[in-house]
């Protein structure tokens, strides 16, 4: 178990949890999103390779309506 900060909220995850697993958990695998992991943008091809550890900060963003 580890605790990360996801979009400003504390979230518990299992060990050996990747960005890919995180996206699956929130039904976001097939959506247009981008990920920032501890302030660094993660390329799509690295989602399965990037594992999360306690206190990591993850931001998942998408497009919303805006002018």
């Amino acid at each position: 178990m580890a605790k990360i900060q996801l979009n400003g909220k504390k979230v518990s995850i299992k060990s050996n949890y990747s960005i890919f697993d995180l996206l699956k958990r929130y039904n976001l695998s097939n959506k247009k999103v981008a990920i920032e992991h501890n302030g660094i943008i993660v390329a799509r091809i690295n989602y399965k390779k990037k594992f999360l550890k306690s206190n990591d900060k993850v931001e998942i963003v998408t497009f919303i309506g805006g002018g």
């Binding site: 247009k32 309506g65 002018g67």
Partner: protein
Amino acid sequence: MKKDIFKVAGKVLKSRLIIGTGKYKSFSETAKAVKASGAAMVTVAVRRVNILDKKKPILTDYLNPKKIIYLPNTAGCFNSEEALRTLRLAREMGGWKLVKLEVLGDKKTLYPNMIETIKSTKTLVKEGFKVMVYCTDDPLLAKKLEDNGASAIMPLASPIGSGLGLQNKVNISLIIKQSKVPVIVDAGIGTPSDATIAMELGCQGVLVNSAIANAKKPILMAQAFKDAVYSGRNSFLAGRMEKNYFATPSSPSKGLI
């Protein structure tokens, strides 16, 4: 006659009306308004996904980015770092290189901070972005943006969401005359006739959000804007008559009884 083509950063757009997708009551209304407007490009903002509601639909479920050009913006960014971070994330999301930069300077007027805007434009152009830039209507600063590689100059007609229309036609005209890249009036348009005036001045396009989204019937208003932009462009191409101080009769005087 030569075909009238609207091109931004090498991309041909089939409409000179660009639609902002904020403030609509629902995604479904957004999609219908965009369709009615005939727009080929929409602006979108980048924000956190709502992780508390997994089933909540997102904009891309309603507006297919394969069918309409998404123009990611940096709305809400008040300095260069925030704007760059936002657009780098947008690029990662789907390879968007054509973006709209807006760096705001004041919460009350949402007036652009031109110092940060110029700085950000330089960096983004260096990183390979094609940058359409929201800016003040100062011709010197607009020129500076163009010199720094902006793909389009987007001066405000009046403050964002104010609906006050074109407040400084002279400055907008000066910017149009000096610019080699498209000038697109962004922000402050309140009615379709405002859009027509902008197009008659020679703007290459207009960007409209609040005037449509805040109308009582947004879908009908989107249609009205489509017609207004089209009319304004045709009027510009046709070339207006000269103004005279005295009357000239429209009917011939020969054969008067």
